[in-house]
Amino acid sequence: MTLTSRTARLAALILLLLVFTFGCWNRVELSRLGLLAAVGLDKGQPPDAVRLTLQLIRAGEVKPPAMGGGSSPAVWILSVGGSTVFDAARRAALQSSREIRWSQAYTVVIGEEMARDGIAPFLDFINRYRELRDLIWVLVTKGEAEPVLKAEHELEKIPAKAMDSMVKASYATSFVPAVRLHDFCLALSAEGQEPFAPGIEVIPLEETPSAEDTEGGDRSGVGSGGQGKQRFTFRLRDTAVFLGDRMVGWMDDRETRGLLWVRGEVKNGIIVVRSPGSEAGDVSLEIIRAHGKVTPQLKEGRLVVRVEITEEGNLEEQLSSGDLTKPEMFSQLEAAQSQAIAAEIQASVDKAKELGADVFGFGAAVHRRYPQLWKELGTRWSDEFRALPVEVSVKAKLSRFGLTTTATWPR
């Protein structure tokens, strides 16, 4: 074989390969994309099975006005009905000038009515669609998802970004859980573990002045208008409890923290207890670290679940005047702290038993420890759980008391 024929063959091969190297088969420019920030799922009006609310980012408006960004809303909301989630998602193209890209979505918000009817059929698309990741936050709203997505946030241009940050910061109180789609689906498919998700609710903002007032630059008109549109914002509140894929009820903030203690997911938060001694006034204890352990045990053939919590906190605020920094006061505070934690757990267990939903994963713990027993109990776990004795023991200690010893108090 001569060199030229080799070269010719090689050239031919390279040319042939070039045919396949149009790498940008589905090429789309950024300016033609509508980035999805949040998606809301509601029960549809018949014949639609589902109503999808999409919060899309208006890329040009995200920048602050000084950098050339606009002062108009940074998101555009549209609501579409469809027989399935994907059907509705594609019908959105009939209204949206830009191709909707799901890969950057922060949250999925589920309306209560849909959640109570069973959410599994509608989560399938969210799970299956290759553009979405399992890291998206799941939220359940009291009422419908659409007003939540339409609500604004005064600190963030993109409301979904605010939801994202709020869920991420939920450890500050541990009054709401942070649940990714991954965690939700894991709980949904696992034996002896029911799913739960943080709640989100819409709250009204003050009424805004009408458009003429602001454009005239006349600030004195604020509050005199009254014909302005009512604006809303949102906040995290409570926890939606599911039995299987159907939502069955809500846990309030203390019950939620009780749940998170058991699951070992409390990272931070404030426990308020009565000040020890004769004086009135509350004391704030900050949770520094906490650990929860669930151990199922067989006592005389009877299944009992032991919950052990170890916690460490700091005294950070007192509304009373006494000196709490003495060892005997500290041990009284520690006892009060343990009691408060145990009370939260008890409230949570009572609520979960009332709903018949084992959000703690006690069943999963039984499955791990007593697989044979679980084969018998697993099929009727919801009923077994209602009658399950739960023993709670809390070891809570206090370490430090901040930068003051006694409260500054008038003599």
């Binding site: 390969l17 990741r133 498919s189 034996e191």
Partner: protein, 368 residues
């Protein structure tokens, strides 16, 4: 009979080739999850499969030590005479079929998970053209390719468990041995039976630079492959749990999509696509080369090279004809069909050949 190919493999190259043949299937399809015991004990089955596969490889290893100059196809002819040609053709079909299956895997994964609108042929045709170039060049260059491409792939597989450790939950593995030892042993058996690399060993043994090292290649390759398969399975089970990981088409891909460290190291799934395409290319080259080589050896052709292009075209056709869609491929790749099919070529035929050899020897001794 000559081995036809003048190229030779070092022990390391042979080990890397055999590791990648197994690993590339696992990082996309993870068939272990759906074969028995199909629960959190899958990793135990994977460990058990290691001694079992050594048992299954015994006939091939015995044959190669008896006939170090001959490949499995040539051994059949030596042992059985002209009738052995039938077995040679069977092996040629087997390797050819695996060429087609590998093409299908690449095309179907890419269209299912990455680029759904792209025609399947846009993936399989370039791959088969590049593969043809590798197959024509012979085992020497293929071994060099493996030495260059496989270590980075293994590095990624080493890295993923570290990145996924945040969501790893040891409780996912409890209860251990939930349904007793039976299903776990069954699982170990099916996993070992899936390993078509045993037949590859029978083919490449005479192409080793040191022909006495075939057993060492087997030990190194199967141990290393099992180690890396565990590095894939354990994070998947520990993060997704047995139920969720079973319901995912590409569980390892899903796991890698979940990696998010400090909102900075995230969306690295293209790393998975990269190692998958690179590895699939190496894998395809091996099957493709062996298909041509086995056919040339069975027909006593002087070279396997003229067979490469026609076989490649047929493989593309077969890949589309046999696996028109993803369910067809996953059905075939399930342990019920795949394991017995492979077992015929890795253990049953070599065991029969070995049996005939032994009977003849004893027969000769009696008459002599």
């Amino acid at each position: 009979m000559k081995p036809l190919d003048e190229g030779r493999l070092t022990v390391r190259q042979a080990v890397l080739l055999m590791v990648i043949l197994r690993l590339i299937h696992v990082i996309v399809f993870l068939p272990e999850l759906t074969s028995p015991p199909a629960n959190q004990d899958v990793w135990i089955s994977e460990i058990i499969s290691l001694p079992i596969v050594f048992l299954l490889a015994l006939p091939v290893l015995a044959l190669t030590s008896r006939y170090p100059e001959h490949s499995l196809v040539q051994q059949a002819e030596v042992v059985l005479g002209p009738a052995g040609k039938v077995i040679g053709f069977l092996y040629a079909w087997f390797f050819f079929h695996f060429t087609a299956i590998t093409l299908s895997k690449v095309g179907l994964f890419m269209t299912a998970a990455v680029l759904p609108q792209t025609p399947l042929l846009a993936f399989t045709l370039p791959l088969v053209i590049v593969g043809a170039s590798a197959a024509r060049n012979g085992i020497g260059p293929i071994g060099t390719i493996a030495e260059v491409l496989v270590p980075p792939i293994l590095l990624v597989v080493l890295l993923v468990p570290v990145l996924a450790i945040k969501d790893f939950d040891l409780r996912m593995f409890q209860p251990v041995l939930e349904n007793g030892l039976g299903p776990v042993l069954h699982g170990g058996g099916t996993i070992a039976a899936r390993m078509a690399e045993v037949a590859v060993l029978g083919m490449i043994a005479p192409l080793l630079r040191r022909k006495d090292k075939a057993t060492r290649v087997a030990v190194g390759a199967f141990t290393l492959a099992t180690f890396f398969v565990l590095l894939v399975t354990l994070p998947v089970l520990g993060v997704l749990g047995p139920e969720e990981s079973r319901s995912r088409t590409f569980a390892y891909f899903t796991l890698i999509r979940m990696i998010s460290i400090g909102e900075f190291v995230e969306r690295i799934e293209m790393l998975h696509v990269l190692i998958w395409v690179l590895g699939a290319f190496v894998k395809l080259s091996v099957w493709y080369y062996l298909a041509a080589l086995a056919l040339a050896q069975a027909t006593n052709l002087p070279s396997w090279r003229p067979l490469v292009l026609p076989l490649g075209l047929l493989a593309v056709v077969l890949s589309i004809y046999q696996f028109p869609n993803l369910p067809a491929l996953i059905e075939f790749a399930s342990y019920r069909i795949w394991a017995p099919y492979v077992l015929v070529f890795t253990t049953v035929i070599p065991a029969l050949l070995l049996l005939v050899t032994l009977l003849r020897r004893t027969g000769r001794r009696k008459s002599g």
